[in-house]
């Protein structure tokens, strides 16, 4: 019973470890902005800690580089369960603009499993706080995939099946579409 109670408290106090594996520091600054008085993240109980062993959530930024891949994996394994990983910025979500460069392996999810994605370049501090709120279940996520298919072809096509012979004349069946 105590264990259930402790696990319910997980959402009220998240300790965050910040790992930048090769990014440009733009997202670092936005994460730091989220901790300033204007967008205060501490009111949700979020605290920045310096050691991955104390942390619950790892905020990853920057794409996974060849040189820092092993360090990132070790930092992930050093975190005690239960743990979450947030990928912040387009570099961490999908590799960013540098997805096919020589030092870049790819997005962070090629090295460690990612739970939540917060895209942007860099994402606004409000977007980061929104992402944390989605993870905590305070708000619903707003994006969904969009698909468009053109079902009605606007120009008629004279398909041979639709041309009907009538004596010497040829009548097109779907004349009203012309």
């Amino acid at each position: 019973m105590l264990k259930n109670f402790c696990q319910k408290m997980f959402g009220r106090s998240l300790w965050v470890y910040h790992a930048n594996s090769g990014g440009c520091n733009g997202c670092d600054i936005e994460v730091l902005n989220a901790l300033t008085p204007y967008y205060d993240a501490e009111r949700f109980g979020i605290k920045l800690v310096g050691s991955p062993r104390h942390a619950d959530v790892m905020l990853c930024q920057g794409p996974a580089m060849r040189s820092t891949a092993s360090a990132l994996k070790r930092a992930y394994e050093a975190m005690p369960a239960p743990k979450l990983v947030f990928a912040i910025g387009s570099c961490a979500c999908g590799g960013g603009m540098w997805f096919d460069c020589y030092p870049v392996i790819g997005p962070v999810e090629k090295i460690i499993p990612v739970n939540y994605y917060i895209p942007g370049c860099p994402p606004r501090p409000e977007a980061i706080i929104y992402g944390v709120a989605v993870a905590l279940g305070l708000v619903d996520k707003k994006v969904a995939p969009v698909e468009f298919k053109e079902l009605e072809l606007p120009i008629p096509r004279y398909h041979p099946d639709e041309l009907r012979g009538q004596g010497e004349l040829v009548i097109y069946e779907k004349a009203e579409k012309v």
């Binding site: 696990q7 408290m9 008085p37 009111r43 109980g45 310096g50 050691s51 062993r53 104390h54 005690p80």
Partner: protein
């Protein structure tokens, strides 16, 4: 009969420390946040933190896991023992069993727990934090010891109920030694409770991880609890030594007045912590060295009856 009261008193003290310590920390964080013009965490946040830490997995890392566990248990145990020894609103429950020398050694032991924690972990950052904590401890522990010895010299006894009763002001006329010791203790109080500007080793998780770097989950919860408890314990000691007025009132009033005084001290600690920057270790050592010199002057004055 008296033994039952004493045991009950000791348990009540321990319970109060366990209950109130996270609340004091919450008040401290909230006031710090308000001074920084932001809405801070909710007041009960440290309770949530501790409960969450208890629910996490315990990763064994570091050089000597057995010693790490021992250090974690020892830190909270020392804090609770100190709670039994100190008078918190009523007379000390261990009056006949403990004296000032035991108090001095228990205070030192609480500092040694942190050193044990860092040394048992054995990683680079832990050892660095431990060495700084050692330096700070060497300069700091004499201060409270000298305060207690000044009290003992004035009252010519080592009994807890005589010394922890504002005995530093015991001299006839103007209590010079008392006033000097009060000034010295106020200036160094922040270091004892490990807050800015003197939290060089432990709460320095922002700069380096410190001795607690390798701890996770329940062990970290014990250490954090011990840290929060130390704020209350040192506050209680300070109030008992330097501000004991009103301790003789009837039971509920005296007890409430004691806690009011402790919270006033927590408020003072918060204000200083929120408006100062952190000292480097060499600057802090110079500061402490001068304070220890001043404390020795007070001791000499006390031994001459001033």
């Amino acid at each position: 009969m008296p033994i039952m009261w004493r045991i009950a008193g000791g348990l009540a003290n321990m319970g109060m420390v366990l209950l109130v310590a996270p609340f004091a920390q919450g008040v401290l964080r909230k006031i710090t946040a308000r001074i920084q013009s932001r809405q801070g965490p909710p007041l009960l946040q440290p309770y949530f933190d501790l409960l969450k830490l208890l629910g996490k997995e315990d990763i064994e890392s570091g050089e000597c896991p057995v010693m790490q566990q021992f250090a974690a248990y020892l830190s909270l145990a020392v804090v609770l023992t100190l709670a039994c020894v100190l008078p918190m609103g009523f007379a000390s429950p261990m009056n006949n069993a403990a004296d000032v020398i035991l108090l001095i050694y228990l205070l030192t032991l609480s500092g040694i727990c942190t050193l044990l924690a860092g040394l048992a972990a054995g990683s680079t950052y832990s050892l660095l934090g431990t060495s700084r904590e050692m330096m700070a401890m060497v300069a700091l522990e004499p201060l409270f010891a000298i305060a207690l010895v000044v009290g003992a010299v004035h009252t010519n006894s080592l009994r807890l109920d005589k010394v922890l009763n504002g005995s530093v002001y015991g001299a006839v006329g103007i209590p010079w030694s008392g006033v000097i010791m009060l000034a010295a203790m106020l200036l160094s109080f922040q270091a004892f409770v490990q807050r800015v500007p003197f939290d060089i080793s432990e709460a320095e998780t922002e700069l380096m991880e410190g001795p607690l770097a390798e701890y996770s989950g329940p062990k970290l919860a014990l250490f954090k609890y011990a840290q929060m408890g130390k704020l209350i314990i040192f506050g209680a000691l300070f109030v008992a030594l330097f501000a004991p007025w009103g301790a003789g009132l009837v039971f509920p009033l005296g007890w409430l007045l004691f806690w009011v005084k402790v919270f006033a001290l927590v408020l003072l600690v918060t204000l200083v912590a929120a408006t100062h920057a952190r000292y480097r270790i060499d600057q802090a050592m110079r500061f402490f060295a001068s304070l220890v010199g001043v404390a020795f002057v007070a001791l000499i004055l006390a031994s001459y009856g001033f």
